[in-house]
């Protein structure tokens, strides 16, 4: 890994990162507040039969418990957007963007192997994803504590929540970066990476809303990150294995393909 390249990658993202961290904390704080304010109303609504229960348990989350709300908050499109900015956006443009601008060859004219470049960028992006994930989760725990719901959370399980969430978003990050090292322009890399995230989101939501298609959730990576299950002690360790296994495949692909690619002069 090249420390200078790692630091510069962080520097490129610093403004965006600060904004997203603040937004993530705010979003995190909001989740227990919403749960506290509306869970009874929603429960009554569900009991009245006016809404099918599936509509109130979108994805793997639920508004009826605080851990379920945390799952819901982390699978919400807003949380996906905050993490996706880096895991999809920054990763898929990291190398392809430099390539399209023509700055990649200025970088690679230095004594840096492509593997070193890839690893330096990947480690920086993974660190960013970890920080954003921690900020959102920190906001949730902080919010729950402030409004007096801290005892509903088993905080001892938080490292496992972070490890599982990090694995999930590492999988999207390695995919985005693998796409980035494979294309000469950021457009196709971003499109492919975004499609990859949306497919998983679609499978998760489809399965949760339509019981006949519940099996589709198993094929969604998002389904294998359930903080609610971890915090209530019903966590299946296979989820952890699945997200990390899926994260490793694009990583290995990129390490094999990127050094062997021909980097012709940019158009």
């Amino acid at each position: 890994m090249n420390v200078r390249l790692f630091l510069q990658t962080l520097r490129w993202q610093r403004v965006r990162l600060v904004v997203v961290i603040l937004a993530g904390i705010a979003w995190g704080v909001l989740i227990p507040v919403i749960y506290d304010a509306f869970s009874d109303v929603i429960r009554d609504l569900a009991n009245s039969g006016a809404f099918p229960e599936e509509m109130l348990n979108i994805g793997s989350g639920s508004l009826f418990t605080l851990p379920g709300s945390i799952t819901l908050g982390l699978q919400h499109p807003l949380a996906l957007a905050m993490l996706g900015i880096f895991a999809v956006g920054a990763s898929s443009t990291a190398v392809a963007g430099e390539r399209a601008r023509g700055t990649l060859e200025v970088l690679l004219a230095r004594p840096i192997s492509r593997t070193t470049l890839y690893v330096s960028v990947l480690v920086a992006l993974l660190l960013i994803v970890l920080v954003v994930m921690s900020a959102i989760l920190g906001g949730m725990v902080g919010g729950a504590t402030v409004i007096g719901l801290g005892d509903e959370l088993d905080t001892g399980q938080l490292p496992l929540v972070i490890a599982n969430g990090f694995g999930l978003w590492a999988a999207f990050t390695t995919f985005g970066l693998a796409a980035s090292v494979s294309f000469d322009r950021p457009g196709p890399a971003v499109g492919l990476s975004l499609a990859w995230l949306l497919i998983h989101y679609f499978l998760e939501i489809l399965g949760s809303l339509w019981t006949d298609a519940a099996w589709t959730q198993e094929y969604s990576l998002l389904h294998h990150f359930d903080p609610g299950a971890i915090l209530t002690g019903t966590f299946d360790p296979i989820d952890l294995l699945i997200v990390y296994a899926v994260a490793i495949v694009p990583l290995v692909y990129a390490l094999l393909v990127f050094p062997k690619r021909d980097l012709a002069a940019p158009a």
């Binding site: 023509g102 200025v106 004594p111 840096i112 021909d262 012709a264």
Partner: protein, 313 residues
């Protein structure tokens, strides 16, 4: 007999790069010696950049081998780039950084001290006030100057420059030429691609001509210039002598007191033959390298015109 140590800084043997059916580089064999400025000349799309990018490890050769600074381009690319300075053609820089930040960033990645930066910035007229501006505000010429500085600031053993004077104004071009002259005096090696004949003539010790990915010829520039024809105009008081008596003069136009023609071969014999008190005026125009090349190409292949430029764009 004891073998002489090789002084080749760049050595390629049958270097070939094909993209599918497109033959970007075919069977290219050449050597660039230490301390020389080597011009790599050819029209756009001839394969100049492909050659450079293959030497630096951006492209992988289809066939053949090459070494730079005695190191194999396939296995020691990182170490080659540590000791090399590279200016890409039409260099792109980080627009959001200042010129100084770009230079700092790149030299830190180079992992060598920017020993030459101050001198280069001074000679290329890049004062601190300019370096502190963001690259996005730079003109093309200023970007090119930053490009030259980033390539040479760490005092590399070998400089590989892809069309280095593009975008530089004539004053800066001359400053750049003097810079390369100094590098040569210090024993540094410069490999530079160009399609501008006049700068090759001005700078290079040797020049390789490449066309359609094939090496057409390697010339010693001084020899090429010595071998070329010169345009001659002579005017006599009274009738001009019989042109047949003037050695080396060809394509003669006789106009009473005036003879116009082209001179090839030894100049001294010609000058001796015209020494006469009746000689009123003499003009010998040094044929440009362009003419030398056109002669060369005409004799090699008259059907394919070259696209070489005679003046910097």
């Amino acid at each position: 007999m004891e073998a002489m140590p090789s002084t080749a800084v760049i050595s390629t043997r049958s270097l070939t790069k094909h993209y599918g059916s497109v033959k970007a580089l075919t069977d290219l064999t050449l050597e660039v010696n230490q301390g020389e400025i080597f011009g790599f000349l050819g029209p756009n799309g001839a394969g100049k950049s492909t050659m450079i990018r293959t030497l630096l490890g951006f492209l992988h050769a289809t066939h053949g081998t090459a070494s730079v600074l005695g190191m194999n381009i396939s296995t020691q690319s990182v170490e080659i780039r540590r000791q090399t300075g590279y200016l890409p053609g039409g260099i792109a820089l980080y627009d959001s950084l200042t010129g100084e930040q770009v230079l700092d960033y790149l030299v830190e990645l180079q992992d060598r001290e920017p020993r030459r930066r101050a001198e280069l910035c001074d000679r290329l007229e890049l004062p601190g006030s300019v370096l502190r501006r963001r690259v996005r505000d730079y003109s093309r010429g200023m970007r090119q100057k930053i490009g030259v500085v980033q390539a040479l600031q760490h005092d590399p053993e070998l400089a590989i420059l892809d069309e280095p004077t593009e975008g530089l104004d004539p004053l800066m071009q001359h400053a750049f030429y003097r810079l390369l002259d100094d590098l040569r005096r210090e024993g540094r090696t410069v490999f530079f691609s160009s399609h501008v004949l006049s700068e090759v003539e001005r700078l290079c010790d040797r020049v390789a001509i490449i066309r359609a990915g094939r090496l057409m010829a390697i010339h010693d520039v001084a020899e090429l210039l010595a071998r070329r024809r010169r345009r001659v105009m002579l005017r006599w008081r009274g009738a001009a002598p019989d042109p047949a008596t003037l050695p080396g003069l060809q394509d003669v136009e006789l106009d009473g007191t005036r003879i116009i023609g082209t001179l090839s071969g030894e100049v001294a014999a010609f000058v001796r033959s015209i020494a006469s008190p009746n000689l009123e005026d003499l003009t010998i125009e040094p044929a440009s390298l362009e003419e030398a090349f056109l002669e060369y190409y005409a004799s090699e292949d008259a059907t394919e015109p070259t696209e070489l430029e005679t003046e910097p764009r």
